[in-house]
């Protein structure tokens, strides 16, 4: 059991949790993740550790409510408990002084990019952060990024805030301006990561993405998280989650992530139906 110390929404459906997990807080390095379950018949889902504090023994995760488990998670509040939490899992990000590093986060991907951006800065890089969101309210962690990066560029698809356009367009703009970029980290939806890889490929810029396949154990025991990188099978939970963006087969990843689409839809529908019923019952009970 791990206690939730803090829970607050950062954006619609995007919630930050600070959870008591002293051991993980002490051990974890940027780029690593945890796996959790929210109830006794719950599934195991991986979530990247966004931050940690050894002082109060907590880790921070930032969750976008998409599937049943993440939606359920986002109904939890401070004082609540996570029944199973295991980690840190996966390999830490490879951090070195590349020179100028660009960290690109799409949506909740910014939360995953944050710890690595911070570490890149600490390693001496000039760090540029591009934070993408559909609209203004989906741009998250801008202040946090500003505190650890040299330049921060929010972008929105609809132009409601910051740069009007996709994160890749902002990246292209920097390149067109002749900025020398030595390293790019891109984390977000698969199409975004693929698009970033396509932008940097002709320039030969070392580009790393963090993959998000479906996982079960997270220890290399099941092989469910396998992906194709450089035409070879990798187990993302132990060989990754970060890989060379120019070698990842995004098409296979996209298809594999659709494996349970219909079941996930059914799960979410039933969960939302139940939430509505619960709310109704409360309403009636409260007169």
């Amino acid at each position: 059991m791990n206690k939730i110390i803090e829970a607050r929404f950062l954006a619609p459906d995007v919630k930050l949790f600070r959870i008591e997990a002293p051991k993980i807080a002490e051990k974890r390095k940027p780029g690593q993740f945890i796996i959790l379950r929210v109830h006794k018949n719950g599934e195991r889902i991986p979530l990247t550790i966004a931050d940690s504090s050894t002082e109060d023994g907590t880790i921070t995760i930032i969750v976008q409510g998409i599937g049943k488990t993440t939606k359920h998670l986002n109904t939890l509040e401070a004082g609540g408990e996570i029944i199973d939490l295991v980690g840190p899992l996966g390999k830490p990000s490879h951090i070195e002084n590349f020179g100028t590093a660009v960290s690109i986060g799409g949506g909740v991907g910014t939360a995953i990019a944050y710890p690595t951006a911070k570490a890149l800065k600490e390693a001496g890089n000039h760090v540029i952060s591009i934070i993408g969101g559909r609209t203004k309210e989906f741009v998250i962690l801008e202040d946090e990024m500003k505190a650890v990066c040299d330049e921060v560029y929010p972008t929105t698809d609809d132009g409601s805030y910051g740069f009007h356009g996709f994160v890749t367009q902002k990246l292209q703009q920097l390149l067109d301006e002749g900025r020398k970029i030595d390293f790019v980290l891109a984390i977000g939806p698969i199409p975004m990561m693929k698009a970033v890889a396509d932008v940097t490929r002709p320039y030969g810029i070392k580009t790393v993405v963090s993959l998000n396949p479906i996982m079960v154990d997270g220890t290399g025991m099941c092989g469910g998280c396998r992906a194709l990188v450089d035409d070879k099978v990798v187990f993302v939970c132990v060989d990754g989650p970060e890989f060379d963006a120019h070698k990842v087969d995004f098409s296979v990843l996209t298809k594999r992530n659709r494996m349970y689409l219909s079941q996930e839809k059914q799960s979410v529908e039933e969960f939302e139906h139940k939430c509505k019923l619960d709310a109704k019952i409360k309403e009636v009970a409260n007169g």
Partner: protein
């Protein structure tokens, strides 16, 4: 009763295990074997002639006093029968169900030379079940506390048996398990219809009551390293299992619908995906589909029979060799056939193919014939030229074995492993080259059996007990013993 002559005993026919009807059971996850009733158990026990040389004891990897416990069943002393079993076997209710008796005790049974061997496995199961159901698992006596602490890594049969012995010897024992449940393969691998989870649970609860502490969600190597454990504990036992699934390494293996047996069985057993959406973990909807399982071991049989229970229209075993070479227990192969599993023997997969969206549609297989015997003495299958066919399938399960998971060895660089990553130990004591660290089970042997893992856990417990009395002296004494 006790004065039956050997001749009379030899006349009694082996008692069949009552089973659920094959077509009925292929639709449910309830246990297939129903177990003897008391009268049948006693009659089966009468078949044992208590021969002097007791080859069965030699045939048992942990040397259970087989004639001894069988005699007690015959005499009606069931509690005593269970006690004799538990002296050498920490998990008789499990082993009675999953041991390959036909290659061990029953293979060498004296009665078996003329008739069917005594049903030792069924009797073992019966005595252990009798205890659990009638008087509850009996607690052995615990020695006074020694003040020593031992960390057990892995909650499978190796770790559990080691923990059980050490707690009785008076040591404090903490089991660290990576998953959220204790039991290892017994929980996530072997299905309910072969090994009901309540049995595993009862064993784990028994250990907990004796004082073993269980910490789930601890991946040693990540959460804590072995070296960190050594700072807090006087000894460490590594029973982390095999746990790194092999794939076929043929084209198309990334297609949707292709699983490792570990993933397939974990989703169903540990995560209860058969009960979706009451259980959150989804699984490919097998209902009405064709499933091919690659491999010939227990894992393959478990996966294929699970597929039938999930509603597969067609469930196939595709195996490169012949039935004779199949490592699965004879009973599992028999049960699979009765339930309607189709066997494609001497067929090797060469390629998976799918549709545009990445869903599996079928497998290309190469027909084989047996050639010359290889190093292991098995006749090697060789391809028959041009004999290639397509088998349409929507689900494939790869059950061709496990390598060793490198998490421990990578994070404990001074621990000696062989080229396959198996931890090297001195077989008499299970000590590794690292001071205070012992290991046993599948991580040492590669994928083997429950009884061997359990036996290794016990051997290690005995050695750890000696080691803890005076570590340096003990290590000095054992110095000569090579860690192979």
């Amino acid at each position: 009763m006790a004065d039956l002559t050997n001749k009379e005993r030899m006349k009694i026919q082996k008692h069949h295990m009552p089973e659920q009807d094959p077509l009925e059971r292929a639709k449910n996850f309830l246990e297939v074997n129903l177990g003897y009733d008391t009268a049948t158990a006693i009659e089966e026990a009468q078949r044992c002639i208590q021969c002097k040389n007791k080859p069965c004891v030699e045939g048992c990897p942990v040397r259970v006093d087989i004639p001894g416990f069988i005699k007690q069943i015959e005499l009606g002393n069931f509690k005593e029968a269970a006690a004799i079993l538990k002296k050498d076997n920490a998990l008789p209710a499990v082993c009675g169900r999953v041991c390959p008796q036909e290659e061990q005790c029953e293979m060498v049974c004296t009665v078996g030379k003329k008739n069917a061997p005594v049903a030792i496995g069924y009797l073992e199961r019966w005595a252990a079940d009798w205890e659990r159901k009638n008087i509850g698992l009996q607690k052995p006596e615990l020695k006074p506390k020694t003040g020593k602490k031992v960390a057990i890594v892995g909650g499978g049969p190796a770790g559990l048996s080691c923990a059980g012995d050490l707690i009785q010897m008076g040591h404090d024992v903490v089991v660290f398990e990576a998953l959220h449940e204790i039991g290892g393969v017994l929980m996530y691998g072997i299905p309910e219809f072969r090994l009901p989870k309540v049995i595993v649970q009862a064993e784990v609860d028994g250990l907990r009551e004796m004082g073993v502490e269980f910490r789930t969600n601890q991946v040693i190597g990540m959460t804590d390293t072995v070296d960190e454990l050594l700072k807090e504990y006087d000894a460490v036992f590594l029973g982390v299992g095999a746990g790194l699934p092999y794939f076929l390494n043929i084209p198309g293996e990334h297609l949707n619908g292709i699983y490792s047996a570990n993933e397939y069985l974990t989703r169903v057993n540990l995560m209860k995906a058969y009960d979706f959406p009451n259980s959150d973990t989804p699984m490919f909807n097998v209902m009405g589909k064709s499933v091919a399982v690659f491999g010939g071991g227990n894992t393959a049989m478990d996966a294929v029979r699970t597929s039938l229970r999930l509603g597969a229209k067609k469930a196939m075993i595709i195996y490169r060799r012949t039935e004779k070479e199949m490592p699965a227990r004879v009973e599992e192969i028999k049960h699979a056939k009765e339930e309607g599993v189709e066997f494609f023997l001497l067929h090797a997969p060469i390629e998976f193919y799918g549709d545009e969206e990445g869903w599996l549609k079928g497998v290309k297989v190469q027909e084989m014939e047996l050639g010359e015997p290889d190093a292991s003495g098995r006749r090697r299958p060789v391809p028959i030229e041009g004999a290639i066919k397509d088998i349409p399938i929507e689900v494939a399960v790869v059950a061709i074995g496990n390598g060793s998971n490198p998490i421990i060895s990578k994070t404990t660089p001074d621990l000696k492993v062989n080229k396959w990553g198996n931890i090297l130990v001195d077989e008499k004591t299970m000590k590794t080259n690292k001071k205070g660290v012992f290991a046993g089970g599948d991580i040492v042997t590669g994928g083997a059996t429950v009884i061997l893992a359990m036996g290794a856990g016990r051997t290690a417990a005995a050695a750890i007990d000696e080691y803890l009395k005076n570590p340096d002296v003990w290590l000095e004494e054992k110095k000569e013993e090579v860690t192979n």
